[in-house]
């Protein structure tokens, strides 16, 4: 009935355009006109009343305030459509069962459905919109009755952006850390004396290498089971350079089994350069750095076999480790080796702490190279890292205090500050 009535709103107009016209004999036109006028006098006020309360029994009001815009901070090909939900949308289980999003290349259609949104939602991202092409959108509220369609919005075009403003917090933290690092590097270069606390595990490197030399046994270095694209492996190989130099100076024997071919080639170059820097290039043995297998437990079996047979006096485990950490460390413990471990895998740290003599916990692994080098510019980076840590601690404390105070007082500025601090760290370090 609504479809044939005088349109009272854009919704009705829209639905009318989709209605199938009924054939009417022409000779009846004049009498029908009279009848319609008579009916209109009675019926139109009734329809208007229905429209104020809702379009029809069981049908919700249409979504309003429809807005379509290019999705910000993205690589293009995406348009975000937002709307105000009808009052009947009370979420899942309510009379509105969802929303159907329709798209067209022209305002008069044809509109094709491109996706659905759940009840309670008021936004949808069309991720299939070609860049630079005009699109028009309409949203229908679905229910047990007829769908209630919104007005049409458009034209809108998708475009890629040059700046991802969503990552502002990452940028701020990165810039701050870079600034701190550069400042302290310059400060120490100019004669500033930094205080760096002693890291027992790194102080023990020379002792551990010396012990192996005295015992006439090899030194085992395990650079983890990840490839060179893992920063922990990079940190491990960096430390290998320092340890290899000490080993070369002591004229001891270093063995490096690797689980990745690329780590093997990198480790070979690193150790070779370290032996060269120590003035003992002739002592470098390429065969002592070898590939075992990419497979986790196959690698463990190979390394364990070596440990049991050769009984290295010192074992270093520096890199990314998973379930194999405890198997390696316990085997090392059983052969009486002095063991130094370091990883940024929090789940493996307790195993290393339990089974090894020294453990570099998380950040210490990354600071170790600078610590061992003793170079001013590298030590400056440790100070920069420390200031970054201080900043994060201060942010946590301030954030907790401000948000607690905001929750108690409800004071607007405090709420804003609390949200800002939370946002600063919410995605920055994940």
């Amino acid at each position: 009935m609504v479809l044939t009535a005088k349109p009272l709103s854009p919704l009705h107009c829209d639905l009318e355009s989709h209605a199938t016209p009924q054939p009417r004999p022409s000779h009846l036109r004049s009498s029908l006109q009279l009848a319609l006028i008579a009916l209109a006098l009675v019926w139109v006020p009734a329809v208007a009343a229905v429209d104020e309360a809702g379009p029809a029994a069981g049908a919700p009001a249409p979504p309003t305030n429809l807005v379509a815009r290019d999705t910000p901070s993205d690589r293009g090909e995406s348009i975000t459509i937002a709307w105000t939900r009808p009052p009947e949308d009370t979420g899942p289980g309510g009379p509105v069962t969802g929303y159907r999003i329709l798209r067209a290349a022209a305002p008069d259609g044809p509109f094709e459905p491109i996706g659905q949104a759940s009840p309670g939602r008021s936004q949808y991202a069309d991720r299939d919109a070609r860049d630079g092409v005009d699109f028009y959108y309409r949203v229908e509220a679905l229910s047990a009755g007829a769908p209630a369609a919104s007005a049409i919005v458009g034209p809108v075009q998708a475009r890629p952006q040059w700046l991802n403003t969503n990552q502002w917090n990452v940028f701020v933290i990165l810039a701050l850390l870079l600034g701190f690092n550069l400042y302290f590097i310059e400060h120490i270069k100019k004669g500033g004396k930094p205080y760096i606390r002693q890291i027992a595990g790194l102080e023990a490197v020379a002792e551990a290498v010396g012990r192996a030399t005295e015992m006439g046994r090899p030194i085992l270095f395990v650079p983890g089971i990840q490839d060179m694209n893992d920063i922990q492996t990079v940190a491990g190989v960096t430390l290998l350079g320092h340890i290899a130099r000490t080993v070369a100076e002591y004229d001891s024997r270093l063995v490096v089994p690797t689980s990745r071919s690329l780590v093997m080639t990198t480790a070979r170059e690193t150790v070779k350069e370290a032996y060269l820097a120590a003035g003992r290039p002739e002592s470098y043995d390429e065969n002592s750095i070898y590939y075992v297998t990419d497979e986790q437990f196959g690698y463990v079996a190979g390394v364990n076999g070596y440990m049991v047979r050769e009984k290295p006096a010192t074992c270093f485990y520096l890199g990314a480790f998973f379930a194999e950490s405890l198997i390696l460390a316990e085997t090392g413990n059983s052969i009486g080796a002095i063991q130094v471990a370091g990883t940024a895998q929090p789940a493996q740290l307790p195993f290393f702490v339990a089974a090894c003599d020294y453990t570099l916990i998380g950040e210490e692994l990354f600071a170790a190279s600078a610590y061992l080098s003793g170079e001013p510019k590298q030590l400056g980076s440790i100070k920069g890292q420390d200031v970054g840590k201080l900043l994060s601690i201060a942010s946590i404390v301030i954030g907790v205090l401000v948000l607690t105070a905001a929750a108690v007082t409800g004071w607007g500025p405090l709420v804003s500050i609390g949200h800002f601090v939370r946002e600063l760290w919410s995605t920055a370090l994940v």
């Binding site: 690589r75 079996a301 379930a323 998380g362």
Partner: protein, 226 residues
């Protein structure tokens, strides 16, 4: 020159990828994936070196009859067998033209399922015994910290079993916070979680700092020199 070129490559690629993180516009949006492909290509080439090294190492041991040469023989035979079966796709239902090496029914799949996986599972199973021996050492009450660790570990272990529930089931509802499962859960979700987060923040800062050092060229240890 031996250090300058790698340093330049590291610095330029690192800086471009950092900048690309903030630019969603093409061609920066796909740089990460593009460089990951480059890495895969290099890693694939390096694998030839790794495989060659494996054959050379163990082949030498076998030919010179060094101690434990039989194990090396098993390694070489296993490596070559898997390689041959994989390359020729023996037993593969689709024959050599089938794109899948691991299709059900192929010899490669059979070797993987019935030789390789049980061997890996055996190594993994050993972990249980190592956990027991490591725990035994770690939980010895040598000092105050070790005693605290022992007590906490005891609560956690007990709280994760039915014994923990039964042991404190008699407590009235208002003393629920003293039950072992409750204590175990709170230790894990509050104390352990807080400590874990602190370590994670330190690790994240360390990763950023290390990456900056490598990109700027301050840390050149991976090139063997300081």
């Amino acid at each position: 020159m031996r250090q300058t070129i790698p340093l330049l490559i590291t610095g330029i690629v690192g800086a471009v990828l950092v900048v690309a993180y903030f630019i969603p516009h093409p061609p920066f949006d796909s740089l990460r994936e593009e460089f990951a492909i480059f890495f895969d290509i290099i890693a694939a080439i390096a694998f030839i070196l790794g495989g060659g090294n494996l054959i050379k190492m163990h082949g030498n041991r076998v030919s010179r009859r060094k101690e434990g040469w039989v194990y090396s023989l098993v390694t070489v035979v296993g490596f070559l067998a898997m390689l041959a079966v994989g390359l020729t796709k023996l037993g593969n239902p689709g024959g050599i033209k089938d794109s899948s090496v691991t299709a059900a029914g192929s010899y490669f799949d059979w070797l993987y399922q019935y030789v390789f996986r049980p061997c890996g599972a055996t190594m993994f199973a050993m972990l249980a015994f190592y956990v027991a021996s490591a725990s035994f050492r770690a939980f010895r009450a040598k000092n105050a910290e070790a005693t605290l660790l022992l007590v906490v570990a005891f609560i956690i272990l007990l709280g994760r079993t039915f014994v923990g529930t039964l042991a404190t089931a008699w407590l009235p509802a208002e003393l629920h916070f003293l039950t072992v499962p409750y204590l175990a859960e709170k230790i894990m979700t509050v104390l352990n979680f807080a400590g874990n987060r602190a370590i994670m923040i330190g690790i994240a800062l360390g990763i950023i700092s290390t990456s900056l050092k490598v990109i700027i060229g301050i840390d050149r240890s991976y090139l063997g020199g300081d």
